[in-house]
Symmetry: C2
Subunit: 337 residues, 2 copies
DNA sequence: TTGAAAGCGTTACCAG
DNA sequence: CTGGTAACGCTTTCAA
């Protein structure tokens, strides 16, 4: 192609405007001391050439790129879409650019981090839970501030934002009990998901505090199909009437299995509670009782950590917790007054 | 913070390894001529210092950043989430980094493009439809290859990928007619959406070809709530029994309104067809007849255009079309044999 | 195979 | 307020 030259440089502009290259730089620097006349000449030449300062040399000088990487694991879940959109919008409003990094598992995380490092990203926000303390420590070697969502593990360079999963589990247990539930079950996410585990822990604790036994647990995978299959497996063994699900997608799948395949009614025969409050949860066909994870709060806290780490540098033990707000809807019966 | 120095440079590595800086560069350049011994020393020193070449100076030299910007308008629709994830994955596989740019309207597009230019992005993929020929021409001034999805407008620097919306509209009309539809309606997206307009055009053409009259049209906004409201407005005026919707979200909202609010049955009383084949369309509660927009094909074509423009430079009139595959499900009756 | 040196486009500093 | 110069970290000549 070679369309002449793709980009004009400040030197080109300086030549055309009849000033020094430094003058051009100053004309584009807010608050620099330039005479109105010089600025006018520079801007005219810049417009003629389609010039805008490149940010690349600046990155080279400062080692700050303005880039923040956001690592996501799977966008099929509308909740992640909503969170990602918020991150992207707020990061841009704060003057950053968003580097989107899709990662299958934390297996490939090391390779990815090498690349991000070579781009001098200022920080990394990970939707992927950083699983173990070892991984968190290993990540510190990269010396890039990392904020991990849905974990409470931290290290020098890793901070985290966590939802109050345990608290929510307890609330679910109490509500289902108050509304007349007797046979409790938990449809879990992937076995290794800390969020799913914490929700179950809270659910267990809540039931125990009420003098009730262990809930039955079916392992799933955070998807609609997984929820449907899990519900089928659950009822194939024995019925349940109070089901807490690891997330909304699982709950919606379970609801469809319960109604369309098993022919039971919700909430009369079976009550269901989800987690996330994705848009579909509010749809007329489901009207799912769930928890709002406060995506706004999650994003705000995460970005506040990014800012804080950028300013004060690494420090161990930064954790923020966002509350999960209970949203009772029609998939659970009304409690007695 | 200042943790000593954040990044080691090739000069630091050279000093530690007792070689020249050029040697370090070569050791990291595949196919460069370095002796095994030198490479060994360099790598040892690099590991000790945690060194990896910065990509920034390279960008400065070549004006190619490896960055491809993806502009998205709203991630609430799961279809866009799925498409975005594919884009991100494939772009990374092709060795690019993905810059995610959320944009409310094309109002702010100019500002955004200035920024992207200063980052020397190699190309821009826009999920936002580039509306008019004027906008497309204006975009050419930025001299960055742009691929626009869901438009057929092009210019020197703007290529586009379009779904066969008209063809799908015709198929919808034919299917609804064959299955016994008599009172046709179209629930549109935003008035200015070219995709929605094209789907309607095809629907109209299909009905006309069958000797049928104009469908009734209700303007909406591509959302579930919009679909619900649009269906309510439609039936408040007069009933319909064959409804084609601008996308799946609208269709799902309409289905819920028709069943839960109006007390009608689907498909016995009313048939509904959507567009996109988002995951929820296949859920048991909806089982929505729809069109698969072939997100895979969309992404492949778009990235092929990116590659092509990167290699051969600007050229007018690059358009690719991806087929929409019809997926009959339970929200329409079975056609007579 | 190796080292020295130029150059990419900025910003920041220093004299004038 | 202005122009010259150093510096950032790399790749790429050019000589040796």
């Amino acid at each position: 192609m070679t369309p002449g030259k793709r980009y004009a440089s400040s030197t080109d502009v300086a030549r055309l405007a009849g000033v020094s290259q430094s003058a051009v730089s100053r004309a584009f620097t807010p608050g620099a001391s330039v005479s109105a006349e010089t600025r006018r000449k520079v801007m005219a030449a810049a417009d003629a050439l389609g010039f805008r300062p490149s940010i690349i040399p600046q990155i080279m000088l400062t080692n700050r790129s303005g880039l923040v990487a956001v690592i996501v694991g799977g966008l099929r879940n509308a909740f992640y879409g909503a969170v990602l959109e918020r991150f992207a919008t707020r990061l841009r409003d704060a003057g950053h650019q968003v580097l989107l990094v899709p990662v299958e598992s934390d297996y490939s995380l090391d390779t990815v981090l090498e690349e991000l490092r070579s781009y001098r990203v200022d920080a990394i926000v990970s939707g992927l839970a950083v699983l173990s303390q070892e991984v968190a420590d290993a990540l510190s070697a990269f010396r890039i501030p990392i904020v991990s969502c849905n974990t409470s593990v931290t290290s020098d360079w890793v901070a985290s934002v966590d939802s109050d999963n345990r608290g929510a589990g307890r609330v679910a247990a109490e509500w289902l009990r108050r509304c007349g539930g007797t046979r409790f079950a938990f449809l879990a996410g992937p076995e290794e998901s800390p969020a799913s585990r914490d929700r179950l822990d809270g659910f267990r604790a809540g039931l125990a505090a009420l003098g009730l036994g262990e809930p039955r647990v079916v392992i799933g995978d955070y998807s609609y199909d997984g929820g449907r299959a899990a519900a089928a497996r659950l009822f194939a063994e024995a019925p349940a009437d109070a089901i807490f699900c690891a997330n909304d997608l699982v709950a919606l799948g379970a609801m469809d299995a319960i109604r369309k395949r098993l022919g039971l009614r919700i909430p009369e025969d079976v009550m269901v509670i989800g987690y996330d409050d994705i848009p579909s949860a509010a749809w007329d066909s489901y009207d799912l009782t769930t928890f709002d994870q406060d995506p706004e709060g999650l994003v705000v806290q995460a970005l506040d950590l990014v800012r804080e780490m950028g300013e004060s540098g690494p420090a161990r033990g930064r954790v923020r917790v966002v509350e999960a707000r209970f949203i009772p809807r029609g998939s659970t019966r009304n409690p007695p007054p």
